[in-house]
Subunit: 678 residues, 2 copies
């Protein structure tokens, strides 16, 4: 029987460790040992956590932060800093120790002492917003790497726009074996190689240990060869050899390709028995082992105590970039594009775009186009893309279906980053993660398209965007059985519900061209999380014949009031609003008066006051209509409400046949209203 963590002993690792530890202590090793000691202490205090990774990567991180990383601990938000992403987020104590030692405000020793406690800045995994120098939330493996690709893309795009004197920095990533096993490492690695993102440098913590034991349990590939095949420059070094690490990082600075450096490390380096085993990965070492580790490392200090001279060396590292930052500030002050650069980096929207959109909406109300909402979205983009220059679009190889590309947008390529469109390839998850990186970097508002059903592939990245409260915009077309013949694998049924259930996500399903324009306005203004524009393949008539304000901003509103007392209120979203309007007309012809409520966003409607909600929903019986499962609709329909929609997966047939087949029709709405009459 194979048992858990049975890579016992790991004699080779312990022998190598002994050899290293027998060498005289250098200043760099002492700096690294400070990281190790703090990681041990933090995890011991919390009685849980992951000491193995920080202890293994302390040496490589020390070389990076002491000699290469461009940062100034005095200003975490310096726009031209290098980005540092801990993709192996479970090793969070590594990051907290680095921030503490190098002198960042807001990461004092008391923060480290409260590691993994409520309200601590030092959470179990690095959390964006907890500290300005935490570049992103990490933990779900592979995503730090994939998001960093987006950050590195942002650097290239902005450098092409504002010039090297303002934008010239690298993105460093520490990734673990787990990150490289994840599928998203393929999508991200291939994309970065294709775009030759040479200022992206990944340090792979090559410790050959995963939770179940040695990586030989499940891995046979050499990731370096894989990344070389993607177009990366690769190198393998002893992760405990300072000179080798320094040489590799110096080499990385000159690369014309993205760089992966495999740092061969001993997980839990310093722990006398657990080093080199899965035993040091995800649990406190325990008092005795912790003590013995410090002894072995030559670290005779009390828990959470760092000697002054070690702080001094670290603070020197932390202020190494101060001069560079000051010089940059001077360049910025004199830069002709200063105002625009500051505007986009601060995430402020340009002047005039609201007026431009208003004029566009007014023109729609006049022309009353019958369009699929994906087409309306493209028309909105034709207005927005020139008006909001920080928009960067793209698609996961469905450009012509998502209609995400408009005139004036060049596709980015390794040779040309004076571009505003990304051909992400058939890489939905990689796209969504890269979009997170574009947004996190600052200076850009990313949007990207795929079919709504493939939002499932992107879900882990959308969740991270929601957790981080960042502005990314997903253009999700082919939003229901209305896509027709491609059938159930391509027909989203449960996706509206599944994202409505996710905190901080704004789901927008507009009903016509005006609502689609409003959805774009709302999404661009939404700085607290991802916005999902859920759009139709099939054409629908214009319903908002007067472009009176941004009605969608309240989430739901009365599109057509009943003539007289409401016999019922029909609440619908997206393409089904037209059905509701059709049913309303039929009922009116029979003398039955109903109101139609268009509800492009339940999240926004839920934020309205009770008075407005009651006014919109009314006291008459409610009928909900949406070509999707009704899960979650009960909230709005009340106990005597009726839902007309899907109860299972779709089918392959023309759209109109499917609507009839599944009973999502004007006739069904009419019947439901009349049934109430009885």
């Amino acid at each position: 029987m194979a048992s858990i963590g049975d890579i016992s002993g790991n004699e080779a690792a312990l022998a190598r460790q002994a050899e290293i530890l027998s060498q005289p202590l250098t200043g760099e090793r002492v700096m690294a040992n400070a990281i190790r000691a703090l990681a041990i202490d933090g995890v011991e205090a919390a009685k849980c956590g992951h000491p193995g990774m920080p202890m293994g990567m302390a040496d490589a991180s020390t070389v990076l932060w002491k000699k290469f990383l461009k940062y100034d601990a005095a200003d975490a938000s310096w726009w031209d800093r290098d980005r540092f992403v801990l993709s192996a987020g479970h090793g969070s104590m590594l990051l907290y120790a680095l921030l503490h030692l190098s002198g960042y405000e807001g990461m004092g020793i008391e923060q480290l002492k409260t590691f993994r406690q409520l309200h601590s800045v030092a959470a179990g995994h690095p959390e964006y917003h907890e500290h300005p120098a935490i570049e992103m939330t990490t933990g779900p493996l592979g995503q730090g790497l994939a998001t960093a690709v987006g950050m590195a893309m942002a650097e290239r795009l902005l450098a092409a726009k504002f010039g090297k004197s303002l934008v010239d920095h690298r993105t460093y990533v520490i990734a673990g074996d787990g990150c490289l096993m994840e599928g998203v490492s393929h999508e991200a690695g291939a994309l970065a190689g294709h775009l030759k993102l040479n200022k992206l440098v990944v340090l792979w913590d090559d410790n050959s240990i995963s939770i179940d034991g040695g990586t030989e349990l499940s891995v046979s590939e050499d990731p370096l060869k894989r990344f070389a095949n993607y177009g990366w420059a690769t190198k393998r070094v002893d992760g405990h050899d300072f000179a080798a690490l320094q040489a590799a990082l110096a080499w990385a600075q000159k690369s014309t390709k993205p760089v992966m450096i495999a740092c061969k490390t001993i997980i839990g380096f310093g722990a006398p028995t657990k080093a080199g085993t899965a035993g040091s990965h995800g649990a406190a070492l325990g008092g005795a082992e912790a003590q013995a580790a410090k002894l072995a490392l030559g670290w005779p200090h009390l828990p959470f105590h760092v000697p002054e001279e070690v702080y001094k060396d670290w603070h020197e590292a932390g202020s190494r970039g101060a001069g560079t930052r000051r010089a940059w500030l001077k360049r910025l002050a004199k830069h002709p594009q200063r105002a625009e650069f500051e505007r986009v980096m601060a995430g402020k929207l340009p002047e005039g775009w609201v007026e431009t959109m208003s004029a566009y909406k007014a023109s729609l109300a006049e022309t009353k186009p019958k369009l699929a909402t994906r087409q309306s979205s493209q028309k909105a983009l034709e207005v927005l893309v020139p008006a909001v220059p920080e928009l960067v679009g793209g698609s996961a190889d469905l450009t012509g279906s998502n209609l995400t590309l408009v005139k004036g947008m060049a596709g980015a390529s390794a040779d040309n980053f004076a571009a505003r469109y990304i051909y992400y390839g058939v890489r939905e998850f990689g796209m969504a993660a890269a979009m997170n990186g574009l947004a996190l970097h600052g200076g850009l508002i990313p949007y990207g398209g795929t079919f709504f059903v493939f939002s499932d592939y992107m879900r882990p990245a959308i969740r991270l965007a929601a957790l981080m409260h960042i502005r990314v915009i997903h253009v999700l077309t082919h939003d229901s059985i209305g896509l027709g013949e491609d059938g159930p694998t391509h027909q989203p049924i449960e996706h509206l519900a599944s994202f409505r259930a996710m905190p901080n996500v704004l789901v927008l399903r507009p009903a016509d061209a005006v609502e689609t324009a409003e959805a774009w306005e709302i999404a661009i203004r939404n700085t607290t999380g991802p916005s999902l524009l859920v759009l139709s393949r099939q054409a629908i008539p214009a319903l908002r014949l007067v472009a009176n304000g941004c009605k969608s901003a309240r989430g739901a509103y009365v599109l057509a009031e009943a003539e007289g007392k409401r016999a019922a209120t029909i609440i619908a979203t997206g393409t089904e609003v037209a059905l509701a309007m059709g049913a309303r007309a039929k009922l009116a012809a029979e003398g039955i008066q109903v109101a139609v409520v268009s509800a492009p966003s339940f999240e926004l409607f839920a934020r309205q006051d009770a008075g407005y909600q009651a006014e919109v929903l009314g006291s008459a019986r409610r009928i909900g209509v949406e070509a999707a499962c009704g899960f979650g609709w009960e909230r709005w329909l009340g106990s005597d409400g009726v839902f007309i929609g899907m109860t299972g997966f779709g089918a392959s047939a023309p759209a109109e046949v499917l609507y009839e087949h599944f009973g999502i029709t004007e006739a069904a709405i009419v019947a439901a209203v009349k049934k109430e009459g009885n």
Copy 2:
């Protein structure tokens, strides 16, 4: 500006096509042209679809189906047939044409004529269950490949168990560029290479075209090198050269590694202007181009007409395996393990397992263990794994956390498939897809573990399992904020709702050891879709003190009735049932009597009759308790109900602190009940 599909002309492809078409027609080419003609006709009749892929891969498919694939069109369900998976599922007409031409029942010419119409067997994408020779539902890219890895694993596992005389077949896959761009291709490819699944053969339709245009828009890697790095044998051939294709497939039969053959093809082969361009990928060629294509191919027949002599050649191919099948049936008849083999392949459960579980549950009722439900799950597995030999477990590198491994299970490796456990590595999506393949192959019941939050990574594969109605069991531990310090990236909040919204998925969140055992019983019996066992990290007391039947099978039941008239009904799931019971006791001490309903599965409860539902839910005010978002709970709580749970993401802190912090406590339940009293 880069425009869509701007790889115009594609002169090289057209020149090469002209060269090939100038050669004399061979019998094989005519057979292949029959596929092309039917693909053209099917798509023209439907006025939509994907002709390009079938036209490009017709030659390779003809060689495979004529010379290598082990099948007998007279018996689609022959257990030792080779499996054929069309991972590039949009090219469904290729599969339908192959099934039709080779003589399968149930795929007559009338089926092809109704391609993409309601109730047609020939749906837009291949749908499992529509025809017994459709091995799986495909369309979401990458998943056919990843699922085929599971099928090939099943073959190895069953061959090790029943011997080569019963189990000795290959799994063939046709994958497109999109499949190989998807991240799951990495997870699946790495796993297959690691396990040396040498009877897996992938034909890559290497046509260099994706929807947005040439693959050079977004791809720079050579997938063959990547797969070679995973441990695959690889070869590149001209996909229109019959001799080369035959040689490559003959070579594949002898491989000691999984095989990938890049078939360099011209997409839309035969179309005079659209061949070699994205224009032939996803739309009907149009009357004139279709006509001209047939002319160029030397196919002068009416639409949907195949000459008798071509049928004859194809039927010969389709019956080529008849003798082999008969010989296999003879071997089966005499095989000492015949009964067991037939039992597992038919998906029938063994005798005695129910009694064994009953005895186990009775012992639990006696010992009343206080365990985390993940521990209870492991205890149930200790009973089930010996009792149900077709169970095959695994974990995505969280074995010690998911507690999915029990005594007597060896880990599968390239050298040893006499095994019942798979170390999937940090590859959640790849695991879920492989589990689908294990289930689809037949003979095995797969279960696999990861943290519940990472179900997001697996979601596309769980959806396919739900669409296909297959029995896979996901062991999803660390199911709430109860996991504690790892924080919000690891705390599922919306996942219960998101899967409850998905059709055909059974979500089971048991409350104690007895319910966990019941959940396993239900999951093993559930042959109509995936079951999700949602299990706690933290320990909870025993609540079911008498193991009286499988109460969980009704989805929800009264765990503790009120003493007298119900002042309220508290409905809870999983770990929160204990809180509800605690609150009930506190209220009783104050003379307030409430009932507690344990609701391990809302899907099962929704299937009960209205009378039972009313009896359980009662007419008193209802209070729902679940450490998750309340989305979808309204259905069960009614208009005056109260939900106690999460309203946003979690935080990093010890579990008990978090429950207090988020107000999911006995005190909160007590207060909610009392508020009702006012």
